[in-house]
């Protein structure tokens, strides 16, 4: 009998090795990566928890508790959905990377990160989860580096911020264990609350610790940035909720609701404002991620089960916006020289890469939360849920949407212009192929379908929210 959850830790590592060995045949390794992550993501959703399955003569059991190197690994319903989200999002990123950067280190490194992040969702106690997440974050430096490009300083910034967050999270467990023994010593609880707030502010890019987000997007491989903003960021969210769930005393004391709301408001305002003023499309991706992260925090700030459900909905539809935007930037960038081009250097490029321009547009619309895109599903429900109680936040989110769209529109106006920048002359006349068009159509179609039929993901978000008890009175 094989514990099914171990497959999600070991198989990605094996695949990472295989994919690295096949790097010479970039398209093949990329396709293999896409299919593997898709199969694993679908598999964990389809296999029922607690039942055994026969697979090639071996019995596989999903769920329960497994001892691995002396630590407990526990697969519960929340972890199952979280792991499925990580793998399916990764498969989306790999699908675009198959066409746009097939030789990228994202594939082998991505598999390693997926294994570590899955482990972080399963392992107990939480200090091991923090350490596994940190290793995954540090590994992302390899994926973020563009082939033949200058050192990705954004990646270093990202690692630096997450490294500063780690000590606080590791010490919280010790502090809360002591607090459980001596409840009169409230200094322990107060210190833990401060450390929790500061650490997750650093990890989630809350203002003023947001600088790594535009930097990562600005000078790194765009699809690897999208991987960081969706897969890594998703794992950080689940870790955050695991902390809140594990330490209910801390949750009640820290009044995390108002803290989340304020942090979210700051992220949304700054992201929208600076996004509108961006002159480099890749940095707009970072500000879009900042706005999206802020929206999820505002939803969580309502401190209700409905709010948590909306935060999950925002998290689940996030890849439709950011991955498409990143694919658009990557597709447009591929046709000219500078690694982190200004808009002016991309003048006219979209006329030769219309599918990339379409991906950028629909991704931007989804990140801004506008209608007929996946992002709208979460955003509209949130406006309705908190509109009467927190009008300021709703206005800030709407203005941020306008800010992101201004940035997208300015970029499109330049890349679709009839004139061409000097750098483009002869730099990449070849057009996009049918397979490029196919992956863009799949992504855009997925975004529109979810935008038109939010009931495809909303029940999953609501079910996830119902599994957490820290919001119960």
């Amino acid at each position: 009998m094989v514990a099914g959850m171990l497959l999600f830790l070991v198989l990605p590592l094996v695949m990472g090795g295989i994919v690295y060995a096949l790097r010479r045949w970039g398209r093949l390794s990329a396709l293999l990566s896409f299919l593997t992550t898709l199969a694993l993501g679908t598999g964990i959703l389809v296999f029922p928890l607690g039942q055994s399955l026969d697979l090639w003569g071996r019995q596989i059991v999903m769920g329960g508790t497994v001892s691995f190197l002396g630590r407990e690994l526990i697969l519960e319903e929340v972890d199952r959905v979280a792991i499925a989200f990580l793998y399916l999002t990764a498969s989306g990123v790999f699908l675009f990377a198959w066409r746009m950067s097939p030789r990228s280190l994202l594939f082998p490194v991505g598999f390693g990160m997926l294994s570590l992040l899955s482990g972080s969702l399963l392992i107990r106690p939480l200090i091991y989860a923090v350490l596994l997440v940190e290793i995954a974050v540090v590994m992302s430096v390899f994926a973020l580096q563009m082939e033949g490009g200058r050192a990705a300083k954004g990646g270093l910034q990202y690692v630096s911020f997450s490294l500063l967050a780690m000590p606080g999270l590791l010490v919280i467990q010790w502090l809360m264990d002591r607090y459980a023994l001596t409840p009169d010593n409230v200094t322990l609880r107060d210190t833990a609350a401060v450390l929790l707030t500061l650490s997750f502010a650093l990890l989630m890019g809350s203002i003023p610790f947001h600088v790594w987000m535009p930097s990562v997007a600005g000078d790194s491989e765009p699809l690897a940035s999208a991987f960081v903003f969706t897969v890594n960021y998703g794992a950080i969210w689940f870790l955050f909720l695991a902390f809140l769930e594990t330490y209910p005393d801390l949750t009640a004391y820290a009044r995390f609701g108002s803290l989340s709301s304020w942090a979210g408001l700051g992220m949304v305002s700054v992201g929208g404002l600076l996004g509108a003023a961006q002159r480099r499309p890749s940095r707009l991706l970072g500000y879009g991620a900042l706005v999206d992260g802020g929206v999820a925090l505002i939803a969580l700030g309502s401190a209700t089960e409905q709010g948590l459900g909306l935060a999950f909905l925002s998290l689940l539809v996030r890849p439709f916006g950011l991955v498409l935007m990143a694919a658009g930037v990557r597709g447009l960038r591929a046709r000219q020289c500078p690694r982190n081009p200004r808009m002016e250097e991309m003048r006219g490029l979209g006329r030769n890469a219309s599918w990339s321009a379409l991906a950028f547009l629909i991704g931007g619309v989804s990140t801004a939360g506008l209608p007929v895109s996946a992002g709208f599903a979460g955003r509209w429900s949130l406006y309705r849920a908190i509109g009467t109680s927190n009008l300021t936040s709703v206005l800030a989110m709407m203005l941020a949407s306008v800010g992101v769209m201004v940035g997208v529109w300015r970029t499109l106006a330049v890349v679709l212009s009839a004139e061409s920048a000097v750098a483009v002359e002869g730099a990449g006349r070849e057009g996009e192929r049918w397979a490029d068009a196919l992956v863009v159509v799949l992504g855009v179609g997925g975004s529109i379908v979810v935008g038109l039929a939010p009931q495809l993901v909303a029940p999953t978000a609501a079910r996830l929210a119902g599994l957490y008890t820290f919001l119960s009175p």
Binding site: L69, G70, R71, I127, Y128, L131, L132, E134, I135, V138, M139, V141, F142, Q145, G148, G149, R150, A151, A152, K153, G155, L156, V159, S160, L163, L164, M166, P167, L170, V171, W174
Partner: protein
């Protein structure tokens, strides 16, 4: 690890004050110096002093493992820098030199020009951070460790953050991150002396070193290509 353990046991007389002072001095040196050879030497010395300090809190064997990881990281940094320098020398933007030539050149440079403006600024910033740490220490004491160990922990974290802020070079930024981790590790090992945690923290150290070396190598290759073009 009997040999390393024996060596550390013999050096135990340095474990208190001398090791603390050594860790502080090497941290300042890493912030101020721009010379990669000196930095690698200072980092190796810092790991030695940190290992000695750690023996105050955990078993010698566990401290030795941490020291060993640190020295392997120094080797990674040395080889990367050497490779980057040799690439620079083949394209004419740098000259390979022996250790003796390097030492003579350093002494001559110090004699003629003294300390550079950048080094002076870094030194001043390091002094400010050091004084802040010393003043703030009584208000935020660390549990389970002595005051002198807590001082070293805070000082290393402060110097690491300073180095991150001052450096553009990936390897120097990597050294900054490793210093932050060393400072924290010295404290955390007293709270959680488990082998698995030691292994995972060691892995983080090692992946940071590899990441910094990877970025440095990439930068050297790009610079090389730009010179060729």
């Amino acid at each position: 690890m009997p040999i390393l353990g024996d060596l550390l046991s013999r050096a135990m007389f340095l474990a208190a004050m001398p090791a603390g002072v050594g860790a502080l001095v090497t941290a300042v040196l890493l912030v101020v110096s721009q010379d990669w050879r000196l930095n690698v030497l200072a980092l190796a010395a810092q790991y030695f002093f940190m290992t000695l300090l750690m023996t105050q809190v955990v078993r010698v064997e566990l401290a030795a493992v941490k020291g060993l990881i640190g020295w392997v990281i120094c080797v990674v940094f040395y080889l990367t820098e050497q490779q980057a320098q040799s690439m620079a020398s083949t394209t004419g933007s740098g000259e390979p030199m022996t250790v003796r030539e390097w030492f003579t050149a350093r002494v001559e440079a110090w004699r003629q020009t003294g300390i550079s403006a950048q080094a002076a600024f870094s030194l001043m910033a390091a002094v400010v951070v050091g004084v802040t740490v010393y003043v703030a220490l009584p208000s935020v004491p660390l549990p389970e460790v002595s005051t002198s160990v807590a001082l070293v922990c805070y000082f290393l974290v402060g110097m690491g953050i300073l180095l991150l802020g001052l450096s553009r070079d990936p390897l120097r930024a990597g050294i900054g991150m490793l210093m932050i981790l060393s400072g924290f590790d010295l404290f955390y090992v007293a709270l959680e002396p488990s082998l698995v945690v030691t292994g995972l923290l060691g892995s983080i150290n090692f992946v940071i070193a590899l990441g910094a070396a990877f970025l440095k190598a990439g930068e050297a290759v790009t610079a090389d290509q730009e010179v060729v073009e």
